[in-house]
């Protein structure tokens, strides 16, 4: 791993070289009968050039966390609390003009399905040029020239011709490359990737992951990578943060979290995947039960209702974050007891 690891628990939240600093982030969805707490107090920091994977199942709050970082959630129906600091910007306090400069200029996002995330009735080259023109006030020709440069950078074959293509004329992998080119158009420092390979074929997935890793290293990008695929997380990230029920339940270096998971949920997640030495003919273990209802969450640890290792303390409030090793922490009361 190229980046030295740092503990990222609350005690180190103030470190000065953090590019992204998230403290006690909460996101509530309003509008229903009861507000739904999709993210319930998430903390992490990321330094420039570092890649973090947010790992979790559907509804665990990972995509919502990502969108909160760009304030892409519909403002009228969401309430974001806590502290978000990215490259010196207090994200939650940005005025509209500063916010639109921040979006795309400081932080850019790649979406899950590039077939849906590109405007179907505009040529791809123009969509990239549009972002460049918007941020740098250059001419259309200069915007197109940058688009061509980016297409070469993300290894799109015959790039000049592809600039004039409409999204539906490209293959899925090509579209995701174009999406990445679009995200990089205005030289952001942070790249947010929301399951960027989920909608792609397995063979294309690995190419896109390798491309992202290459770009991250070459351009020194900080990357947050949302995924539900443990294999993908290990492949792209220096550190892994596991989310469950809107909480970060475990954070640590990829190798450590996968090698010696501390939280029962992470353990369950890892036990339920297929590895080359999984025995044949034996059912994979699963985690019983289903994720918590976020409108009516359990009083204590969010994983308590499904956990096989429950002790009475599990129901008395959210477990504190406990360091199990330098840079590796988890929220589980049993760890506190053992320490």
């Amino acid at each position: 791993m190229n980046a030295p690891l740092r503990p990222s628990d609350a005690a180190t939240a103030g470190i000065s070289d953090a590019l992204i600093e998230v403290r006690d982030l909460t996101v509530d969805f309003l509008g229903g009968r009861k507000p739904v707490r999709a993210v319930g107090g998430v903390d992490f920091t990321i330094r420039a050039g570092e890649a973090l994977a947010l790992l979790g199942e559907s509804g665990s709050g990972k995509s919502v966390t990502l969108r909160a970082l760009m304030r892409l959630l519909p403002e009228s129906r969401t309430r974001i609390g806590g502290h978000l600091r990215v490259d010196g910007h207090d994200v939650l306090a940005l005025k509209p003009r500063a916010l639109s400069a921040y979006r795309g200029g400081t932080v850019a996002m790649i979406f899950q399905d590039p077939g849906l995330a590109l405007d179907p009735v505009y040529r791809i080259g123009d969509q990239i040029a549009e972002a460049v023109i918007r941020h740098e006030g250059v001419s259309r020709a200069a915007g197109r020239a940058r688009a061509l440069e980016l297409f070469e950078r993300v290894h799109i074959p015959s790039p000049a011709r592809r600039l004039d293509a409409y999204p539906h004329e490209l293959s899925g992998g090509m579209r995701q490359r174009a999406m990445i080119a679009l995200a990089l158009a205005c030289r952001p420092k942070v790249l947010l990737a929301d399951e960027p390979t989920t909608a792609l074929d397995a063979t294309v997935q690995i190419q896109i992951l390798l491309l992202l890793r290459e770009l991250q290293r070459d351009l020194g990008l900080a990357v947050i990578f949302v995924t539900h695929d443990v294999g993908v997380a290990v492949q792209v990230a220096d550190r892994v943060a596991v989310m469950y029920g809107g909480h970060l339940v475990e954070v640590g270096a990829s190798g450590e979290v996968i090698g010696s998971p501390a939280h029962p949920y992470t353990q369950g997640l890892l036990a339920s995947r297929i590895t080359p030495d999984s025995p044949r003919g034996v059912r994979l273990p699963t985690i019983p039960g289903s994720p918590p209802d976020l409108a009516d969450p359990p009083p204590g640890c969010p994983f308590e209702p499904r956990c096989g290792l429950v002790v009475p303390d599990c129901r008395s409030g959210l477990p504190a974050r406990v360091a199990v090793a330098p840079g590796h922490a988890a929220r589980c009361v049993r760890l506190g007891a053992a320490a």
């Binding site: 850019a108 009735v121 679009l182």
Partner: protein, 317 residues
């Protein structure tokens, strides 16, 4: 693109032929003898037969159709039984008047419809949406002849601002674009515009709501576009469908304005159809329906071409 237009015209030809056959047969299926209207009551059988052969009604139907089609292709729609004038000039004048009225109504309806539609689509489920939607529902459900009568009572009879009937001063049958004639077209055009207004507003509302929920709108915001920049993308995505609906509405208005044209005595196709039906004026009826149908076919053609030009996903080949 040129190739696409030629091909599309090629597809329209058999449709047009089919439509002409239906026009021809439809009128012949209707009960009643057209000649009884112009012949004296005590006409002899011999006289009747003479008239019948003069108008060609004695030949078998396929032959009549062939002759009729042949004449049409040479620009002859026959002679009106009631007035003795060529059908083509009668229909031509009426089509012109209807086209003006329908275009005016569509223009008003499209302008307000897209406006209300965008407002409702953007402010979905707010009170603005409810107000705009209520206006749209009123537009599609109010009986139009009733609305016309109400407008006449208010703006002509009570306030005396606008003339109640006709297409121009002194019963002028030819509409010209000046202030005086504009005063005459206002009431019928507004009455007629509530239909396309309602339909377009409902369509655009659904479209805009749909588009705003698509991932690419979030992606546009994520790349730092202003709300106005995003709006431009929404407009271009909504345009192909909105324009298609507008074209179809224009077609409907051209053919379906009998009631409104009658209320306002507007000398258009609806008025003419009404007269032709009551006078059993077969050639006039056939000619008018055919012209309207052909108009519909060409309008569809035009809408297809415009839509294809706007939306790259539609196959051009």
């Amino acid at each position: 693109m040129i190739l696409f237009i030629l091909k599309r015209i090629g597809y329209a030809a058999p449709v047009a032929l089919g439509v002409s056959l239906v026009c021809f047969l439809l009128v012949h299926l209707a009960p009643g003898d057209p000649l009884s209207a112009i012949l004296p009551v005590d006409a002899t059988a011999e006289m009747q037969a003479q008239m019948r052969s003069a108008y060609g009604f004695d030949k078998p139907l396929p032959v009549q159709y062939g002759l009729w089609l042949w004449k049409i292709l040479h620009g002859d729609l026959g002679t009106s039984i009631a007035t003795g004038r060529p059908v083509l000039s009668e229909v031509g004048r009426a089509v012109g008047n209807s086209l003006i009225l329908a275009s005016m109504a569509t223009l008003i309806g499209f302008t307000f419809g897209t406006f209300f539609g965008f407002v409702a689509g953007y402010a979905r489920d707010s009170w603005l949406d409810r107000v705009a939607s209520a206006i749209a529902v009123f537009g599609v459900s109010v009986p139009h002849y009733w609305l016309g009568i109400v407008l006449v009572i208010v703006f002509s009879a009570t306030l005396g601002w606008l003339p109640p009937t006709g297409a121009g001063p002194q019963g002028s049958g030819n509409w010209v674009p000046d202030i005086e004639h504009l005063r005459y077209i206002l009431l019928p055009a507004i009455t007629m515009s509530v239909i396309p207004m309602g339909v377009i507003s409902r369509t655009v509302r659904a479209l805009v709501g749909d588009i705003l929920h698509q991932d690419f709108v979030q992606a546009l915001r994520a790349k730092g576009l202003s709300e106005f920049g995003v709006f431009r993308h929404v407009v271009k995505n909504a345009a192909p469908t909105a324009i298609a609906i507008m074209g179809l509405q224009l077609g409907y208005l051209l053919g379906g304005s009998i009631l409104i044209e009658t209320v306002f005595a507007w000398p258009g196709t609806g008025f003419l159809l009404n007269a032709a039906i009551f006078q059993r004026d077969l050639p006039l009826l056939q000619g008018t329906i055919l012209v309207l149908a052909m108009f519909f076919v060409s309008l569809n053609l035009l809408v297809d071409v415009v839509q294809t030009a706007l939306d790259p996903r539609i196959e051009r080949a």
